[in-house]
């Protein structure tokens, strides 16, 4: 189970997370999803908070160097970049696998007519 204190710490220890007095604030559902996965992976000991904070800081610096407006709107895209990079570094998966699954979901969305549930099928990995 996720430890509330760890979740709170997560939002305090990483740089400039969009938050208010009660905790983090998400603009879109996928942001919360990315946030929750990060906490869950930490909980499982895949990485430490300092590793995570460093990975995120690196992504944010990289983005700023590339001219990111740093308005908070792009915060979670840096977050997701950092998370993808870190899970690859930790050998959980590879960036090739991530791409393959992304393309498969894309394919599944395209081939699924409206009104039918989207599911990944083997043929999506074409």
């Amino acid at each position: 189970m996720i430890d509330q204190a760890a979740a709170r710490r997560a939002t305090q220890e990483v740089p400039s997370i969009p938050r208010d007095a009660d905790g983090p604030v998400f603009r879109e559902p996928w942001e919360a999803q990315a946030f929750a996965m990060t906490l869950a992976l930490h909980e499982r000991g895949v990485f430490t908070w300092s590793e995570w904070a460093a990975a995120l800081a690196t992504e944010i610096k990289r983005a700023q160097a590339a001219g990111d407006p740093d308005t908070g709107e792009t915060y979670y895209s840096h977050w997701l970049n950092a998370l993808e990079r870190l899970v690859a570094d930790k050998g959980v998966t590879t960036s090739e696998t991530l791409h393959r699954y992304r393309d498969a979901w894309d394919h599944a969305c395209d081939r699924t007519p409206h009104g039918k549930p989207i599911e990944l099928r083997p043929e999506d990995f074409g």
Partner: protein
Amino acid sequence: MQLRTRALETILLEKGYIEPAAIDLLIETYEKKIGPRNGAQVVAKAWVDPKFRQWLFADGTAAVESLGFSGRSANHLVALENTPSVHNMVVCTLCSCYPWAVLGLPPLWYKSAPYRSRTVADPRGVLADFGVELPKDMEIRVWDSTAELRYLVVPMRPAGTEGWSEDNLADLVTRDSMIGTGLAKSPKDLK
């Protein structure tokens, strides 16, 4: 970003790094942030203010925006009226489109394939799973939301709430009642 998040999620699930229940719990902790309270206020206002109610069903987007709840996900919002003879239920069978500006983050089950496909095929069965039984002769309409069109169900006002303030009424409006997988709470549920 949505696709990439979903890709990562799928891999982590397959490898057993994350459990859907734990992720759901986490998201639930924070979903109050955007929160279903916004939607509850919309519904409560529709219960007490006939003019607003009319506006809400005629132009949901504008009516909801007038309360200050906008954001991209509230665009093209259509309000659906539950009546004694019609119950509305919303499903997104494509990509979990969800009016999260008014309803908060979607629960994980909303995005699950079984919920989506079963609701279309057997809405009464899904309602039964949620502990909701409707009269046999009540029509159930299932609405399929899209990225361009999202729905907000306006549940029926519970009996015994005459003279209640909007704020008190809003406490009766649950997230599930605005998706159509539940009904508004009755006054005795609050006790």
